[in-house]
Amino acid sequence: MKANLSINGKEYSIDAPEEIPFLWAIRDIVGLTGTKFGCGVAQCGACSILVDGILVKSCSIPLSFGIGKEITTIEGTSENLEFLRKAWHEGNVPQCGYCQSGQLIAATALLDQISNPTDQEIEDAMSSNICRCGTYVRIKKAIHKAVALKNN
């Protein structure tokens, strides 16, 4: 099928199988590879993107779901995402870095919803993202830091 997509404020026209999950449409057809494949079954969050501001696992939604909506991937930007990036740098969060695209997008969605989340709210929101390197302690700290950076 032909599809017009709006990703990070840019328009893309692609031709793709109708049922292709959004993840593979953006990685293999649009060519934005920052969004990662980790499990294919919405278990790890590596493929997290925002669709009209809503956090989704792009491996498990069809391409058609994203048509006519504004998509944000790790290649994009937003106020909260930029504060999170800063905090990720300050906290030296990543190890291998692979899951961090999804972690940052999930954290952006969290701060979009709750401007100053508690530890519990961070754990609830971020526990659908796996980091095999085990950077959770730093991610949690960095989310608090991003809030602090924003409020200063």
Partner: protein
Amino acid sequence: MSTIQKINRRDFVKIFGLTSTGIILGCSISSDNKNFLPIADGNTFSPNLFIEIHKDGKIILISSRSEMGQGIKTSLTSAIADELEADWSYISVKQAIGHEKYGNQNTDGSRSVRTILEPMRKMGAAAKMMLISTAAKKWNISERDCKAENHYVINTKTNEKIFYGDLVELASKVEIPADETIKLKKVADFKYIGKTLKSIDLTDFTHGTAKYGMDIRIPNMKFAAIARCPVTFGTVKSVESSNAEKILGVEKVIQLDRIVPPVGQFFGALGGVAVIANNTWSAFQGKLSLNIEWNYGENQTFDTEKFKEVLTKRVHEKGKLVPGSIGNVSKAFDDASKVIEATYHVPFLVHTPMEVPNATAWFQEDKVEVWAPLQDPQTARAEIAHFFEIPIEKITVNVTFLGGGFGRKSKSDFVVEAVALSKKINAPVQVVWTREDDVKHSFYHATSVQYLKGSIDKNGLVSGWLQRVAMPSIVSSFKPMSDYASGFELGQGFTNNPYLIENFRLENVKAEAKLRIGWMRSVVHIHSGFANNSFVDELAFAAQKDPVQFHLDLIGDDRIIGGKSNHPYDSKRMKNVLNDTAKNAKWGRKLPENHGIGIAIHYSFYSYVATAVEVSLINNKVKVEHIWTTIDCGLVLNKDNVINQLEGAAIFGMSLALFGKITTKEGAVEQNNFFDYPMTRMKHAPKITVHIIDNMSKPPTGVGEPGVPLIAPAICNAIFNATGIRIRQIPLIDQGFDFE
């Protein structure tokens, strides 16, 4: 840069040449790996570490090791920057291709810093001396009146300064300092080494621009998924592919024979049926639509539950005596005031790096190029040369970022698959494993069953220790019929445990491999660390002694073993980390209700680690509340990176302690994906306190792995402390505990 120059081999550093943009320095390092290819002959200098200094001041160093999250690129940068008095922001790191000129590139065994640090520092120091010498000549003053600082050489009398970049051209004509004149900085003068440095790849990591294996895109490349036999080494009997071929995007279905490795080396590839498509998803869908009949072969009866019973029976009978056993355990047991026995079990485990195995290959008429996330690119290159009969110099192996490695990406089976397919379809192709493929067709971390018998004498001290180990060997992946753990495996915490025991007997027990066996982060130390620390805790309880004091007694007198080696074992350092952890965890304090605390020590990859874990239990729901880890790893290159690695090791260790388990029925692995091979998630993560012993005068030792083996036993000992329930098998989820 491929020029090889004739010089005296005693020279350590060599200017490699003046390029249009600057100078290249090279040096040759040896390695502690026996596979290292030495300098070809006495007169040939084959540098395997490089730094380039450019006229615009930029410094580029080539990292021969792969970056998989352990922070090697940043660590090497700090070494060069410090000795060269360079401005950090001018330095960048290029990833080396897989080539023997870089020496051993196998990124495993927590050895990169251990082997590369000193040469890196020396090269930096030599370059600094050359820049100073050049500036001194320019000013016509003595070198003593010059100093290097932050990318400038400064005239200490006049405070004039010259930028490094402006000295490069002249510096290239200066004599290289002789090895014995190269002076390294004192620990107290370090600016970067031992300090907290941020990853040099942060911007790429936080913007999705770091290129991992799966992110490689070559014009006209295809994507492939491979259906492999559920039973190890089974073959295709017949395949019906018409449904797969109907899927939009699928272009071709190809049968791949197993690529059998020659005895003693390489990994080959499993073979199966490959679906070639114009996108990854269509390849995955095509694979699911194949109708394949398999010849399951001889491993189809392999059942891990039955295998565990067989091994359990075997460890209760006498095994093969392992050299290094001392004294007379039978007599110790006869004379003891208490004798206890216990049997421990660790299941098969799998690595599941977040980035699945994948490789992109382009087989052209007379050359092959590969892009892949590889821990061991040279083996990949050698395998391609061997299996496809291509001269090795026609093969280029590009190393991408690794989305986690943990040992899985030191095997190159996925590269061999990609090359085989590219050859068949005459186009570049990216083979991508699904997560299910990764879980079901890996090189697994072996299972083990261990029997321990120990005695306490009348003074409450350990007088005898008998340990029988049954564990399929990694060697079986290279050499069929290797049915016993090998010497190098027993050397990971069994023959060299940190204890002083007068009567010690180790026995090796038969365990056949019916799955491909590989190594996973901290390898056999997972087995030795679990059984040793669990059993010491049992002995301490039997002796009615405090576990920390009991451990201290067991480590014994101050002594150094292997004094002539680069990394002798020093019992004082072991006791020191234990005392430090106990202090940080406030060992001995009154714990809240339903809380328990446990301790473990381990010596691995030449590093000394002690870990305390506090847990809380409500009914069967366990919460790991706090993990304290202290490491003595000698000289620390990047403090924050060491802390990050040990935090990660705690989480990795928790995953295997709480959830890790690969089982088989009728030869096939039963687990599929993260829903039935779960990982530690943020909601499970405890507070983690890492402390590094300041021991900067000692050589650097391993960091990536040594934190892992202590987590499972420390958690189990903490649960015992809280409940009196002794756990001798992991994962805990199978022992009636819950973590939600």
